[in-house]
C-alpha cells in the first residue's frame, strides 16, 4: 500500500507519465543480483525531468535459468501506461520510490483514462480513517490525478 500521494509527490525527484517501451533484465553493477532496466517513453513530466525517455531500475528479473522475484518490486509490461514517481542518488540510474508504491497504472475506462487510488490525499488536519467499500471512492480521471500531483509537488498548475 502506498504511503500516500502527498509524500510521494513531495519526495520524488521526477514524476513522469508515459508508455513502457523496453524491459531489460541484467546483472546489477556489482554482478551479485538480477535487476531490470525499464525504459519509459515520456509523455509528460508532472515534476522534474529526466529527458524524453527515462530509464529506471527495478529489482528482479529473469536471466538464463534463474528468475529473481523481489516481493513488492513493481513489474511492467510493454505498452503499459504508467505514472512513475522516481528517486535518484546522484548520477545513478533512477529507481521507483518505495518499490511499487511509486507506480500508478493508467487504464482506459469507458469515459477516458483513469487512475485507481486507494485513498485521497492527506487530511488538512488530524487524521482520516480509510473505509473499505466507501461508495464515494472511484477511479480518478487522469487529468484530475495529474492536477492533484502537480499541486502536491508544488509544480505548475
Amino acid at each position: 500500500m502506498p504511503a500516500d500521494l502527498t509524500e510521494l509527490s513531495r519526495d520524488a525527484r521526477a514524476i513522469a507519465r508515459g508508455r513502457v517501451v523496453a524491459i531489460d533484465p541484467r546483472w546489477s553493477d556489482d554482478r551479485r543480483s538480477i535487476e531490470t532496466i525499464v525504459t519509459l517513453e515520456v509523455e509528460t513530466y508532472l515534476k522534474g525531468t529526466f529527458g524524453r525517455t527515462v530509464q529506471f531500475r527495478v529489482s528482479g528479473g529473469e536471466l538464463g535459468r534463474f528468475r529473481s522475484v523481489t516481493v513488492g518490486a513493481p513489474e511492467f509490461s510493454i505498452d503499459e501506461h504508467v505514472v512513475v514517481f522516481l528517486g535518484a542518488d546522484g548520477p545513478s540510474v533512477p529507481h521507483v520510490l518505495g518499490l511499487n508504491q511509486g507506480v500508478f497504472r493508467v487504464v482506459r475506462a469507458a469515459d477516458g483514462w483513469v487512475v485507481s487510488l486507494p485513498s485521497a490525499g492527506s487530511p488538512i488536519s488530524g487524521s482520516a480513517r480509510i473505509v473499505r467499500g466507501d461508495t464515494s471512492r472511484r477511479p480518478v480521471a487522469l487529468a484530475d490525478f495529474e492536477q492533484r500531483v502537480r499541486t502536491l509537488a508544488g509544480g505548475p498548475r
Binding site: 500500500m1 502506498p2 504511503a3 500516500d4 502527498t6 509524500e7 513531495r10 519526495d11 551479485r32 543480483s33 538480477i34 531500475r57 529489482s59 528482479g60 529473469e62 535459468r65 534463474f66 528468475r67 529473481s68 522475484v69 523481489t70 516481493v71 513488492g72 518490486a73 513493481p74 513489474e75 511492467f76 509490461s77 503499459e80 528517486g87 542518488d89 545513478s92 529507481h95 521507483v96 520510490l97 518505495g98 518499490l99 511499487n100 508504491q101 507506480v103 485507481s116 486507494p118 485513498s119 485521497a120 490525499g121 492527506s122 487530511p123 488538512i124 488530524g126 487524521s127 482520516a128 480513517r129 480509510i130 473505509v131 473499505r132 467499500g133 466507501d134 461508495t135 471512492r137 472511484r138
Partner: protein, 333 residues
C-alpha cells in the same frame, strides 16, 4: 533522509494459480506454468549477515530476534514448516548467491520500505533456490522486549517477512487512516501479513493471528489440520457475473477471530481453509482501500466497484468439512 512516516513492509507479487486457493500464496512463472513459491524440503536453512548493522542492534541481538520469529512460525501445530539457523555470513542479503540470508542493508530503492523479501527461482524446475530478507538499515530498529520509542521492532517485521519467505502473500485484514502531513497509520490488523506495519515503538506485530496460522497450515498442512478445521467455499457474483479479487472475511463468533481469502479465478470462486468449527459471519468487500499491486499481479483485473455485503445467514463450519454452498452476491457502488 529518514522518513518517520514510512511504514511499508514488502509487498507481494502473487499470481493466484488455478483452481481457487485459500489465501494469497506467492507464485511465479517457471517453464511455462505457474508454480507456488513453496519449499519442497524442510527445514529451510537460513544464515544471518554480519556485514551491515543498524544503530542500536547488534548482530547477536538481530539473530536472536529473527530466531524467535522463525520459532513462532515453526511452532504452529497444524503446519509442518521448519527452519534451521545456518550461522553467520559475510554475504549481504539480496544477493543472488544461493544462500537464504537475512540482514541489514541500506538500498536506495527501498525508500520508505522497512524490509523486503526476495526469491531466486530455478525456472526450469520451478524450485526455490533461496530467499533473502533485507531489513532497511536507514530506519531505527530495536530488539527490546517491550519495544523502544521511535524504533521499529525487528521481531515483528521479521515475523511478517518470514511469512513471505515461507510462501505467504499479503492479507488484507487490517484498517488504516491517513495522517495530516502524509503517511498512513495502521489502526488494527488481524494478521501479521498485512502490508503496512504498525508504527515504531510497538511490539503489536509480534504474535501470529488466526489468519496467519490458517495460511501457513494451508501451505504446509500437518498435525490434523484437515480434520480439526473446516473450510468455507463458494462464489461471489455481481449483476449475475462472477467477480475476481473480492475479499471474503470469515468471522468466528465463538473466538472473535478472522480468517480471509479472495475470489481467485474467473468463476469468482473462493475457498477459506483452516476455520475453527462453529458459526461464522461472512463479509464480502472490495479491496478499494489498498494498493492492488501489493496483492495481485498487475495483469489481473481486480473488481473494486461494489459495496460491502454480508451473507444473510450464519455459516456453520464443521471440522474436516467444507461448506461449499456459499453464494455471495454484491452490488455496484
Amino acid at each position: 533522509m529518514r522518513r518517520a512516516a514510512a511504514v511499508l513492509l514488502s509487498m507481494c507479487v502473487a499470481w493466484p494459480a488455478q483452481p481457487a486457493f485459500a489465501y494469497l500464496k506467492l507464485s511465479t512463472r517457471a517453464n511455462g506454468r505457474q508454480v507456488t513459491l513453496k519449499w519442497a524440503q524442510t527445514p529451510v536453512r537460513y544464515v544471518v549477515s554480519s556485514r551491515d548493522a543498524a544503530a542500536g542492534v547488534t548482530v547477536d541481538e538481530f539473530q536472536a530476534a529473527v530466531g524467535r520469529a522463525f520459532a513462532q512460525w515453526q511452532a504452529v501445530p497444524t503446519s509442518s514448516i521448519a527452519y534451521q539457523f545456518g550461522g553467520l555470513t559475510a554475504a549481504l542479503p539480496g544477493q543472488d548467491d544461493g544462500l537464504s540470508t537475512l540482514g541489514f542493508r541500506n538500498r536506495a530503492d527501498m525508500d520508505r520500505v522497512l524490509a523486503s523479501t526476495s526469491f531466486l527461482v530455478d525456472v526450469v524446475t520451478g524450485s526455490l533456490v533461496e530467499s533473502d530478507i533485507v531489513f532497511n538499515s536507514s530506519f531505527d530498529w530495536s530488539t527490546a522486549p517491550a519495544g523502544q520509542l521511535g524504533r521499529f521492532d525487528v521481531e515483528s517485521i521479521a515475523l511478517h517477512e518470514i511469512g513471505h519467505l515461507s510462501g505467504l502473500g499479503h492479507s488484507a485484514l487490517g484498517e488504516t487512516e491517513l495522517r495530516e502531513g502524509g503517511g498512513r497509520r495502521v489502526l488494527g490488523a488481524e494478521t501479521v501479513m498485512f502490508p503496512i506495519a504498525f508504527g515504531s515503538g510497538t511490539v503489536a506485530g509480534r504474535t501470529l493471528k488466526a489468519d496467519d496460522i490458517a495460511g501457513i497450515s494451508d501451505l504446509y498442512p500437518d498435525g490434523g489440520f484437515s480434520t480439526s478445521t473446516g473450510s468455507v467455499s463458494g462464489t461471489v457474483t455481481k449483476d449475475g457475473q462472477p467477480i475476481f479479487g473480492a475479499h471474503i472475511v470469515a468471522f468466528d463468533l465463538a473466538h472473535g477471530s478472522m480468517v480471509a481469502g479472495f475470489s481467485l479465478n474467473a468463476q469468482g470462486q473462493f475457498s477459506i481453509n483452516g476455520l475453527s468449527p462453529g458459526p461464522h459471519v461472512i463479509r464480502v468487500e472490495p479491496l478499494d482501500d489498498a494498493e492492488v499491486d501489493s496483492f495481485f499481479d498487475t495483469s489481473l483485473t481486480v473488481d473494486l466497484d461494489f459495496k460491502v455485503a454480508f451473507l444473510d445467514r450464519l455459516v456453520i463450519v464443521a471440522g474436516g468439512g467444507d461448506r461449499g454452498d456459499v453464494a455471495a452476491t454484491v452490488s455496484r457502488k
